[in-house]
Symmetry: C2
Subunit: 404 residues, 2 copies
């Protein structure tokens, strides 16, 4: 995953030919920023990965529809209201968001993707968006990424942004993105949004393939398959402004895929770090499984166990809960061959505690803000990892209070 | 489910020919009761349902083995230590528990089931059990059920007990049981134990069939398939002391199955009521699904959603989270036909809020300690229900502190 790219500033406006802006239009009662616009100066190839939830919000319906012709000029995003479970009026409101944005950018509604995040089941105050968009469009700038990143936040505590640059054939290519979401695994179906831009030239089908690969290794490692919100969306726009062309043969060799993977993984990990009430970032790694799918299944099961996550919050090296969670993954494991490590400390060998000294060292590791739990199944040679956080008192406080 | 039975006192000693006792043998550091014995005066047919966790505690290994000859005299149960992930020594300790109990009862070890619940991965202090069992056996009594129910508790706040009586052919038949477990759905893999006794005469294979049916409608409605602890066990003993005989043809018509179902359901619901930190008992009912399996899948998904459960704790009628959870169940639903009720108040029609008045009424219902959420899919005619609780601040406190 360590390609030949380097970090750059600028998030979603790092790539040439992209501008962004964010503002407060009055959807959020506290006056916080709640409307963001990202635009490409020229038509861009577009691809997206959407929620797998059977209940789909209106902006998803709209964006799926317009992506049938996968060339876009931009995306308008509001926070504070998900425009989900809002019936026919919701669909009209999503289209209105595209209409008004298209007008402000001098293009047509079909060129505009729409995304929303926030409370479900409340009518969207569309007139506030309609009023704000022309002003927002005038403020689009090459330095607007942070503003936009702030305007898409809900329970997030920090804006999430990342960009990288790599060279190919003497040309500099940039890929950058912003995201929102407090990505606790499984308990949390809070909406995850990510918007990525690149100045590479790439066909929509290949862009889609690359995005899917990157999402599988990043956002899908922090959410359990199927436990998605009604509004999840990862959208990428590629406008070709660098004049570096990606095709099937050089997608991987050029460094493009590595760079895209890195941006997605970093944004996904930032979500976990900012998990609702999270105090710890935990990598759960399963090694020496029979195959990669098994490794991933076991890792997810551990990472989504509330008993494991509360123990992490309590800084309790409760390896028994880890082992028990692994045992519920529905895949064959041989308890007598399972080893568990906290960072590099081997706490458990063959499902048995190695000793009090190891437990003390593991407990000290748990006091760190970031750690890796490795479960070695000793059954094969495949491995996989997922990213999670602890389950804290603040998680409950935040989610019990969300709508009030 | 309302058979011709009536409630009686006595729990696991309500049925003739059963005695029980509980004591503190020093496994729990706070001196609380931690050792229970249930015994039949005569050999009894036995059947059990065990954990599906791939990591299985030593007492489960023992009890599975001795149940190959499904006639038992009793069960010895300790709390405070799960004897799980304890290697070969754990197996020796489980057998020792059976040995010492068999000696005290004047029978052989193969007649004694063993169960344990508590912390995983700590060596069982078997000598304390060995020392306590003879005294415990001398204290076995026809009124010992509550003592035994207290001695199997871990994070439970109250002992759980239930017994019913019904007549067949002029004979009184009793079925009773005790249980432990704080049955939060899914987040909680805390061990669930239930011990049931009956003075009906019934063959082991038929007893097993009856138990399986009852468990499917009760304990399996409060835990999600696969999310079991290393120690879960539901054990039933039938000693025939009533001389009423159950056979294949009268299992249902006699009222036996109804009575067994009622005992299991009541114990299961008591676990939910006593869910770790739970403040509410919530029935999640899915109606008019295409088939019962689909209804159950959707109900479980809603009942296990931490976002739904925290909203319940916050007394927030957050129907959007309910709908979103239903949407992740991986079964076809038609959002435009989904209705949601809180008790009898229809809050949502076709995935849209009916009005502020209904929301206010639903919010008032949420202030009750017990409520039913009904999701009507309007797709077919099958229904199912599961039982859950809210996810409270105390849940996190209890589980972050469990081992300290």
């Amino acid at each position: 995953m360590t390609g030949m790219h380097r970090s750059v500033r600028g998030g979603v406006t790092a790539a040439q030919g992209f501008r962004a802006a964010g503002t407060a239009c009055g959807i959020k009662k506290n006056g916080a920023p709640d409307l963001a616009l990202i635009a490409s100066d020229t038509p861009a190839s577009a691809a997206a990965v959407f929620t797998t939830n059977r209940v789909v919000a209106a902006p998803i319906v709209w964006t799926r529809k317009v992506l049938r012709r996968p060339e876009m000029r931009g995306v308008i995003v509001n926070s504070g209201n998900a425009n989900a479970c809002t019936g026919d009026q919701g669909l009209i409101d999503a289209q209105t968001m595209a209409d008004v944005t298209a007008r402000a950018l001098g293009t047509k509604a079909d060129d505009i993707a729409v995304a929303s995040t926030g409370v479900i089941g409340q009518p969207l105050p569309a007139p506030r968006i309609v009023q704000a968009v022309p002003r927002l469009a005038r403020r689009l700038s090459r330095t607007g990424s942070t503003q936009a990143a702030r305007a898409i936040m809900t329970t997030d505590t920090t804006p999430k942004s990342r960009a990288v640059e790599f060279s190919m054939g003497g040309k500099q290519v940039r890929i950058g993105g912003i995201a929102k979401g407090s990505g606790m695994i499984h308990p949390n179906m809070a909406t995850m949004l990510a918007f990525i831009t690149t100045d590479a030239a790439i066909s929509p089908p290949l862009l889609k393939k690359g995005l899917k690969d990157a999402v599988d290794r990043s956002f899908h490692r922090i959410t359990v398959d199927g436990d998605t919100s009604t509004n999840d969306m990862v959208l990428i726009l590629a406008n070709g402004a660098s004049s570096a062309t990606i095709h099937e043969k050089n997608r991987k060799s050029s460094g493009f895929q590595d760079a895209l993977n890195a941006v997605c993984l970093d944004l996904a990990q930032a979500m976990v770090m900012d998990g609702e009430g999270a105090t710890k970032f935990v990598t759960v790694r399963v090694e020496n499984a029979r195959d990669e799918k098994t490794a991933l299944t076991v890792a997810k099961k551990i990472a989504q166990s509330s008993l494991v996550k509360t123990a992490l919050f309590g800084e309790d090296a409760n390896w028994g809960r880890i082992l028990s969670a692994a045992g519920t993954a529905g895949v064959p494991i041989r308890p007598e061959s399972v080893d568990i490590y906290f960072d590099r400390v081997q706490l458990v060998k063959g499902s048995i505690l190695r000793g009090d000294d190891q437990e003390k060292r593991a407990t000290r590791i748990l006091q760190n803000r970031s750690l890796t739990i490795t479960v070695d199944l000793n059954l094969g040679s495949a491995s996989s990892e997922v990213y999670t956080s602890d389950l804290s008192l603040d998680y409950v406080r935040i989610n019990a209070d969300y709508r009030s």
